[in-house]
Amino acid sequence: MSEVRLDRPALRDPRWARAAIFIGGIGFLLLFVVLPVATVAVEALNKGIGAYFKSLQDPDTQSAIRMTLTVAAIAVPLNLVFGVAAAWAFGKFDFRGKTLLLSLIDLPFSVSPVIAGMVFLLVFGLQGWFGPWLREHHIKIVFALPGLVMATIFVTLPFVARELIPLMQEQGSEEEEAARMLGAGGFRIFWSITLPNIKWALLYGVLLCNARAMGEFGAVSVVSGHIRGLTNTLPLQVDILYNEYNMVAAFAVASLLAGLALITLVAKSFLEWRYADQLALTRR
């Protein structure tokens, strides 16, 4: 993308317009985006640093941390494998119905998180398709870890795939075809040719996928059953503590998630700046 040359006299906005745009734009971002994040830090440290760390050591919060890490550790790798498989099929081959299937991959982004959670109640819940059978066999899916994982996979499914598919389409498959002609097998081609070409985009997608997986609230809230110390993730713990008017603890937990968001943003901006040429141009 070529930078617009900005020293052209015809593009110069009047001074009052520049001032208004700056004040409006920066002010809006400060008020609606920066201030809320600052609030999290201020409220979390309201009663001092000691109270902050003490509230994080609460056993329920500790178990919520473990739960969030467990869910992300299952959901993110699965979506990574899915993203790579989808990108291989869609990026390297042409077949009928490709456009329709591509839009289906993006479908979870258009579904309300609440609906993303409730569909699993309808399949695996007591009133659901497999509910009675699961109950007979003492298998718990909703209101337990598998339900949390499935709801999380649903909402984070497109992240890796949508980074890789446009990139692999752009890159074409000449290099892979050459490797094939030289006698390399499928996995060899993937490891030595494709993976090095897509590694930064892959990392980018995983980063966003992980941030959403750890921060998802609506979908997980519906399938968790809110069993304290058992099926609570960090965002759900924020909800519980906040409703108990335990503000310091609620915002202390929220600050962990806000910290994760900030780290993700910094890493994402770094990748965009350093490896812009190796990320998909047609992204978003």
């Binding site: 809006f28 291989w88 081959f93 309300s112 609906i115 398709w129 924020v238 994402k268």
Partner: protein
């Protein structure tokens, strides 16, 4: 006159173009299985659940005053928030593309914060900020305006979640917009404002419309950031996703499914309409 068909007998197009690369079957097979198990079959379950009911009971659920009020509130708040985001999203995109200033990269990254920040965190933060004793909320107390636990609070939360959609749709279009057009307008005697209204704005309109639709569609389904600030009074500040959750907690799965399907159909058809519209507008613009 006899109708003559000039089409050659065509071989059926093959399912896929031939390639020397291996792994198409397993890759596509895995993709489709995974997508079906996680997304398609569960969504099908939702539609089947709603379809089990006869039309009269579906109608009764959807025309219930509490449900209607929730839909009205959700759409109105989403539309206002998306409109605010279009205006300020354009301002922010303009600032980021056309001006060079210290910290531009940081401002650019900040725009993505609503994407990255978990909705529950945004919810508790906004609600404490906008409450009567909050930093921003207290400024409105003298005017008798409640933001938190009232409809304006819902709009504020939806502005937060929707902003990046507009900026990230308008920004690349503005980036690629050729300044020659603006220069031509200037040489023909148009001042900056006329050039903006007559030349630049029409070129950005499809992107702004898309941004509006994306922000609006996201807002309709938004749950986490809204429920903390809304106050959640039935018929007054209760949004559609919350109503679905309440129905689920009452084990009224059918009622929940009907409302969910209705809201899903509305947001999906909105996105399809915008997609078509945008293609048409884009073509129109290319032709000049």
């Amino acid at each position: 006159m006899t109708a003559v068909t000039l089409t050659r007998p065509r071989a059926r197009a093959p399912f896929r173009r031939w390639s020397v690369l291996p792994g198409f079957g397993p890759a596509l097979g895995f993709t489709l299985t995974y997508l079906s198990l996680i997304v398609l079959i569960p969504l099908l379950a939702l539609f089947l659940k709603a379809a089990q009911m006869d039309f009269a009971s579906i109608w009764a659920i959807l025309t219930n005053p509490r449900v209607l009020a929730a839909f009205r509130l959700t759409f109105l708040a989403s539309a206002i928030a998306a409109a605010v985001n279009v205006a300020f999203g354009l301002v922010i995109a303009w600032m980021l593309v056309r001006y060079r200033f210290w910290g531009r990269r940081i401002v650019d990254a900040v725009v993505d914060l609503p994407f990255a920040l978990p909705t529950a965190v945004a919810g508790v933060a906004l609600s404490s900020l906008m409450a009567k004793n909050g930093w921003v909320g207290q400024l409105f107390v003298p005017f008798g305006i409640d933001i938190a636990y009232a409809p304006p609070g819902i709009v504020v939360a939806l502005i937060f979640v929707g902003l990046p959609f507009v900026v990230r749709t308008v920004q690349p279009v503005l980036q690629d917009f050729e300044p020659e057009l603006e220069e031509a307008a200037a040489t023909l005697g148009a001042d900056r404002w006329v050039t903006f209204i007559r030349i630049t704005l029409p070129a950005l309109a499809p992107a702004m419309l898309t941004g509006f639709a994306l922000a609006f569609a996201r807002a309709i389904g938004e749950y986490g950031s809204v429920i903390f600030i809304a106050g959640n009074r039935p018929g007054l500040t209760e949004i559609v996703p919350l109503l679905i959750v309440i129905k689920l907690e009452e084990f009224d799965y059918r009622g929940a499914s009907v409302i969910a399907v209705a809201s899903l159909i509305i947001s999906l058809s909105l996105l399809i309409v915008i997609n078509v519209l945008q293609k048409r507008l884009g073509k129109h613009h290319e032709r000049g």
